[in-house]
């Protein structure tokens, strides 16, 4: 399965015009945290890379700031391509499962499926084992609790149908949600 074709199908992004100029890498604010720079991902996708492209952490580090899409001289929506890589990696089970951002997204969706709304405190609590220096970060949580920014309980939609509403349809590629912490 060439990733480039999947990106067209899932996100309507065609990476074949990529000139390998590296402009997207130059403007990326988080490139120093990536294992592979965005320009390399685009280049490899263009050259016909398959599923092995999906195990990288880079798409999960991406903050979707869209600087890259703005500067691309041939108009490739690089940020959307990164999103497509996230979708594909998740759907095929290739996403680096110990990456904090991967778990962040998985647990976020799980939270929302259960309650219909995001309970921030609950999400942070579920993520705690994956946050580097969690004990140090606990100070932030305490601070936000003291500032009444992390309510212990949140309202939820009265008619929320329950987690099954977001569950993958039969025959879809999406795997069932993770088992949580």
């Amino acid at each position: 399965m060439p990733v480039a074709e999947e990106l067209v199908r899932l996100r309507g992004v065609d990476v074949t015009p990529c000139t390998e100029c590296g402009a997207c890498t130059d403007v990326c604010p988080v490139v120093s945290r990536m294992d592979v720079p965005p320009a390399d991902l685009m280049t490899q996708a263009k050259q016909g890379a398959g599923e092995d492209l999906l195990a990288h952490a880079s798409p999960w580090v991406c903050t979707d700031c869209r600087r890259c899409s703005e500067v691309c001289p041939v108009g490739i929506d690089v940020a959307r391509a990164m999103e497509g890589l996230r979708l594909l990696a998740h759907a095929t089970g290739q996403a680096p499962s110990q990456n904090t951002m991967v778990r962040f997204h998985e647990l976020f969706l799980k939270e929302v499926a259960e309650r219909g709304r995001l309970h921030e405190l609950s999400l942070i609590w579920r993520l705690r084992h994956l946050i580097p220096d969690w004990r140090g970060k606990l100070a932030f949580v305490m601070l936000l609790l003291g500032k009444r920014k992390l309510p212990l309980r949140i309202g939820s939609p009265g008619q929320w149908p329950g987690p099954q509403v977001l569950a993958a349809e039969a025959g879809s590629q999406e795997p069932a949600e993770g088992e949580g912490c």
Partner: protein, 330 residues
Amino acid sequence: MLRFSYFPGCTLTGSAREYDLATRSVAGALDIELLELADWNCCGGVTAASLSERALNVLGRRNLEQVPQEAPELLCPCPHCYTSFARTLASAGQNAAEMGVNLRNILDVFAGGEVLERLVERRTEPLTDLRLAGYYGCKLSRPDPEVASHRSERGSSAGFGESAGALERVIEACGATAVEWPAGADCCGAALGVASGDAAEELLAAIYQAVLGAGAEAIVVACPLCHLNLDLHQYQVSQRLGSRVDVPVFFITELMAVALGIEECEDWLERHVTSPLPMFMRFIEAQEEREYWGEEGPPGEATGEEPVPAAAASEEVGAGGSQESERPGL
């Protein structure tokens, strides 16, 4: 009377509760009616679009279907919700037209000409001489393609956010001065602030360096995630930069509430991690000095070291949380 359906979104009930309170309150003061969606759910945030197209559409549609026909304009204070809904509408195609929803972000409504005229008319506490930096972040300066096409279809101005100088217009309408600075559209780190503080702090340090370089006394934002990151990490950023960063961050409607003299704002501003109180104290001191000496300043050298009248601490002018004087420590 302007009337909008209102989608607060998850963060506005939690970490950005003050944004919700300020928005409702300012809307009331400026004759804008907000009808909260009866049974709203999460928009899916950045996550749904990254993990499951289906989730994005299910979550979005459930909200959009609740928009009542008598108020088809849906105000989303959070730029992420705004973007999610634009994407849901784009993928709904024909059904979207049936829903007839017109998405409006916070700047469309609160930086609109008519609303700003009312603000100037009704403000009781003009923030004269405060130097403020408008921070747009990513979603309001580089909109997703679906946002751009939704706007052009509905005849809204295609340019909004940074390109239209919307925050600057609000800042000036509050009586303050908008500074020019280079980092207003930079990335705050978004969810990395939660998952990898170190990466976010690096980005925030650059933003704060620009803020200090421009001589701004506070930052004005329109996104809950930007606010959380900018407000929460100043202690760590100070250590990284080796100089103290103590710059309060306001939501756009909070700033309007202060200028309108809405009393409840003391309660919201107390929720900020970086207390705005020192800034307001300096502001009040400067104001009283000006009242006392007139525009020319004190006779002789204007050093700013003159003794300040005791009334400087009077409550009526104070807008910050008055009980809270020290910076919260970590």
